[in-house]
Amino acid sequence: MSGGGGDGGAGQMEADRRRRVDQAVGRINDIFGSKDHPAHQGLYDEQQKAVTDLNTREVNRQFEQAERANRFGLARSGLMGGSADVDSQAELSRRTNEGLMKAAGLGQQAAADLRGADERTRQNLISMAQSGLESGQAAQMALAGLDLNAKNAAAQRTSATLDNLFGNLGWAYLARQQQAGQRPWGYY
């Protein structure tokens, strides 16, 4: 910047403006942290674990229900210990693994969403800071934005979002097996 002092004080005003912007941006970054070291990493990890656990419990509940129905269906049909047992167990296991991975993915996505919301809030505030937002106001709005994001994230932790993983697997599979068993040649 021009340092000659022949600018009627405009240089000083510009330096003051820059200092205010830097202070506000610095304050916002202190609250949000940097990209590589976010200040709320613990909150993101907690969100990921909570959403993952919630959906994992749902997977487990559905698996237990499906496995029980399958086991009784096999027992009723006299197919326990046979190839139908092996196949149905494999299908149950495959769907359980898929459900578990979906649950983990949902947890990762929830954490990424929360982090993304914080990042958007941070960038909006920085834009406002460059337009003249004072550092005190910036800090206040940053905390308000974080609070709102945390509340929205908490809403995701209230219920599992996984669909019905097993559907009518037990009934359909067993019905098919039973039909196959009733055929004289034993094949479907």
């Binding site: 021009s2 983990a104 993304g116």
Partner: protein
């Protein structure tokens, strides 16, 4: 005669000095302005370089090799997380109960084979989910990085604009010649003009006086004699008019 010329000469010198002083002030102002313009351009160039550097750094992140490496790393990380979660679940929960009674070797073999296949299937599924999730998260992160870069460039642009405005004011100010030097030059020119005018007036008076003196008879120089006034011409006998320059002759 000498005194009169001196006043005019001093006036001329003063007038020229005044003009020179004004010209010097204007030249200095012009030089200052040129220097200020060059400095301002240099500052704008530095801002431009800062912006280019910020964009260049971000552009390097978008090279195919860099993106591929980041996506592979992200995929591996997500895949490990998914598989670890499945493994943890298996460790914490009992497997499906094995049917009681006598079980054929074929059943046991098929069951073990099925479980081994499930491991492979889980790994393949984790890899696929890791790939799709990593691609999504990578682009989200790239979007944030682009926003950050855009804000950095905006900030540099704002600073450049503010600096440009300040520099424009400074350039206008330094382009004005020093008022004191200009005033001093004007004063000198005024004094000089007055002196020259005064000297010219005195010189005119002096010339008149000189002519008057020259028209009067004065003391003869050695070897000179006074011509007889209005003596008739020796050939034609006419009497010439009186001539002040021919009062004396050798």
């Amino acid at each position: 005669m000498f005194v009169l010329d001196d006043i005019a000469l001093i006036g001329l010198i003063a007038s020229l000095s005044g003009a020179a002083m004004q010209m010097h002030a204007q030249t200095q102002a012009h030089a200052r302005q040129q220097r200020a313009i060059q400095e301002a351009m240099q500052r704008q160039r530095q801002f431009q370089q800062q912006a280019e550097q910020a964009v260049r750094g971000r552009t390097e992140d978008f090279t195919p090799e860099a993106r591929e490496a980041r996506q592979a790393e992200q995929t591996k990380q997500m895949q490990d997380t998914l598989l670890k979660h499945v493994q943890t679940y298996r460790d914490e929960h009992e497997a499906a109960p094995t049917p009681g009674g006598h079980l054929s070797q074929d059943y046991l073999k098929a069951r073990a084979q099925s479980q081994a296949n499930q491991e492979k299937s889980a790994q393949a599924l984790a890899h696929l989910l890791g790939q799709t999730g990593a691609a999504s998260q990578l682009r989200q992160q790239e979007g944030f990085d682009l926003d950050n870069t855009g804000q950095t460039v905006d900030r540099i642009g704002n600073n450049a604009q503010g600096t440009q405005q300040v520099d424009n004011l400074a350039i206008q100010r330094v382009g004005i010649p020093s008022p004191w030097k200009m005033l001093a030059g004007q004063v000198l020119q005024g004094v000089g003009s007055f002196g020259m005018g005064r000297g010219a007036g005195l010189a005119l008076n002096g010339l008149t006086t000189l002519m008057q003196i020259a028209s009067r008879p004065s003391a003869p120089q050695p070897g000179w004699r006074l011509k007889a006034p209005n003596t008739p011409h020796p050939f034609n006998g006419l009497t010439p008019p009186a001539n002040p320059h021919t009062l004396w002759s050798r």
